[in-house]
Symmetry: C2
Subunit: 441 residues, 2 copies
């Protein structure tokens, strides 16, 4: 993409309304624009990051055997009255009347709707287990939306829902999502510590939140330093191997970790030596629940068992805050100059800077490298604007692409370009005829 | 995908509520489920088709130089008051009050918001031309939603917005979208005839609708039979070549075509010989508008021109009904047994039917072919359920995958499988060791 033909409205100054670094950087880098309290438009580079995160989330859901569907944003109030949550949910639920005066709402979550869909589509025990998910915009009318996309009102969530014949089988479904979440966050370059957590308005007995550490996190967190030494890589696993899946979950739940709502200071002291006790603040990026028949019972989600008797299904739900992750990753990965994108979610892989637009050789060489990289399928943002070099360097650091290629008359005389790693700051001179190979392995 | 582990709730009988064939077939094939009047959940196969159409639309927008963004579903009423459309839009606009009693609305379209975004992100004439688009759920509170996803209230739309310095440049932007639409619909296997059309609540002077012919269409259409002989293939074009783009538009607008709102019987008679006059009904799948400064003026969307003077930008908007296209394609492509998907948008490329589940050889051979096709990246839906062959054949015809591979004991004795083309009905015996190669070229 040529920056001269793109839309990336970078701000020179820090916007006043931004209290935290991710919000500030997203506004400054021209990734988002506020449309209403807690509601944002995703401008081109922000949209690219959002889509990349969404795709990684999707791939890991699919790998764990979940099946993608898509439910509408607006829901009828009827199902929520059946489950008893219509009144429970309070003012966070955005209630709407349509022109026929019917009660609608903007879905804050989808337990009722998916349970009703599944109920109407199945007959026997052969139709389970299943896990259905969707990635859709939700709305929660927070009293005080803040921190940009971290705590918005309209936000993109992946929510999955499992249906099983028995609580034991349901536990395996829960464990699979637990492992899928570890894999997902690892691919996003994050350490998201699973913690015992409150179930809130979703309900049920068993629940884990996945939190990344950041000073601006909304939850206090307490955990064992040993978490840092665990294997957080996106390990391979056979999801049908019940014992292997359970073993990963056991490993990641055997050490103490809890959010403040569930924290038990006595237990913390007894289980974790003082010098390994860590506490701080965390951002919730995922939350999984097992709630048995809480929704399937009132909504009549049952199948005929092998013995002919009706069985009410056992369910869990599994959420990832896709739009929130954009901010969460920035909170975890930035420096004083701007964002530092992990390669997996960067809006472009390489930024190509022509520092002397108008110079025939600089233009020709930059154009040639741009086209060659594009031809090889490398995502390049090419700064071909006629602007001072300093402004271009600052903008490129701000938007945080993993690599920069810098082309200027001085290097060209020696047949070289400068390649900069955004994360380490390391700079290297690379011969012009080696540049493309460098980024295509 | 193994059907035994999928979620495709096929209905045996025609649902009573469906008045038209696409709605009936989508419900019967388990592609969608109604959640409220004019609001649908997309079940797994329906979702796959929706995503494939979305992706083709996206690729053709990108190719024409449009840049993808994403605006929220809910909008503040303020911008609509500025443009004067807040009151104009009537009851079709779903108005909402949030907990702070602020006036919000579920966006039926985005002219105001994108104009405001663009205004705030640009400075000079160097920042145009641009075309920004998004693919987002919209809501229009129709009095009488009907025909399934063809006339829903919550629907997925691609809407693009162009910004130019002059009306002449704006015309080229309009022409590019015109050509991109021809390409898009051609890739979807559709002939969508461009017709002069009313501009309705969007406004402006110049407007074309793209309509596919179907008895259930909401508009009467009148056109020259010569359209049938035009080149509807997804021809290559250099979008920067103003004359070449204009030539395509001229070709497709030189023949008479109009919806009933714009139809002129006298002109029709004078321009089209009687034996070439066609009329019928059409489904609108795309609509493009050029409206100059209708929105940029009240919203102050202007740049500094080369001479230092302020210039108000010239704009157009360009919509494609992505979710409506799912129904539209079925209206154009089905038979008495069910849907006939064009290859480009089929939920799976091949249906693999094991007609004798439990037979060791049939199971082993089917499994092997399934894995081999998957390994080669072919999308396969594998009917491995223990059900009678007749039900399996009927379901596979109903859901309309382009190809079927049928494995049974009789064929296995001769070392063959049957390959059926859903569209032509042609059947062919293919040696087992040739099957995979057949679908991977």
């Amino acid at each position: 993409m040529r920056l001269s033909q793109y839309f990336m409205p970078v701000l020179r100054d820090d916007p006043k309304e931004a209290e935290i670094v991710s919000h500030r950087l997203m506004l400054r880098a021209g990734m988002i624009r506020q449309e209403a309290a807690g509601s944002y438009s995703w401008l081109p580079t922000g949209f690219r990051v959002l889509k990349k995160i969404e795709q990684i989330v999707r791939e890991e859901q699919d790998r764990a055997g979940a099946i993608e569907v898509l439910m509408p944003t607006l829901q009828s109030a009827d199902l929520w009255r059946k489950s008893g949550r219509y009144d429970d949910y309070g003012k966070e639920m955005l209630r709407i009347k349509d022109r026929q005066d019917r009660d609608m709402l903007f879905g804050p979550t989808n337990e009722e709707m998916i349970t009703d869909i599944f109920r109407s589509g199945i007959q026997s025990y052969k139709d389970v287990p299943r896990n259905l998910y969707h990635i859709q915009w939700k709305f929660r009318d927070e009293v005080r939306p803040r921190f940009g996309v971290m705590r918005g009102r309209e936000f993109l969530m992946k929510d999955a829902y499992s249906f099983d014949l028995t609580a034991e089988a349901g536990q395996h479904s829960y464990n699979k999502m637990f492992v899928a979440y570890l894999r997902t966050f690892a691919r996003l370059g994050l350490k998201a510590v699973p913690m015992r957590a409150d179930t809130g308005p979703i309900g049920g007995d068993s629940s884990h939140e996945f939190l990344i550490l950041a000073e601006t996190g909304e939850s206090g967190v307490f955990f064992d330093r040993d978490f840092h030494d665990m294997d957080w890589s996106a390990f391979d696993i056979d999801y049908d191997d019940v014992a292997a899946v359970e073993k990963v979950v056991t490993t990641f739940t055997s050490k103490y970790s809890a959010t403040d709502e569930k924290h038990d200071a006595v237990e913390f002291d007894s289980r974790v030596p003082k010098d390994k006790q860590l506490s701080g603040r965390g951002i919730e990026v995922g939350h999984i629940f097992f709630f048995g028949d809480k929704y399937s019972k009132p909504l009549g989600c049952e199948v005929q068992g092998a013995d002919g008797k009706k069985v009410t299904l056992q369910s869990g739900s599994y959420g990832i805050g896709v739009s929130r992750l954009v901010g969460g990753i920035i909170e975890a990965s930035h420096d004083k100059d701007g964002i530092i994108w992990p390669e997996a979610v960067a809006p472009f892989h390489v930024g190509l800077i022509n520092i002397k637009v108008g110079d025939a050789e600089a233009d020709a060489t930059s154009d040639k490298i741009y086209k060659a990289l594009q031809g090889k399928g490398v995502d390049v943002l090419y700064d071909d604007r006629n602007q001072p070099g300093g402004a271009k360097f600052a903008a490129m650091d701000l938007i945080g692409l993993p690599w920069q290629i810098i082309i200027g008359p001085r290097g060209l005389k020696e047949g070289i370009a400068e390649v900069k790693n955004r994360k380490t700051g390391a700079r290297e001179n690379v011969a012009l005829d080696q540049i493309v190979g460098r980024f295509t392995k």
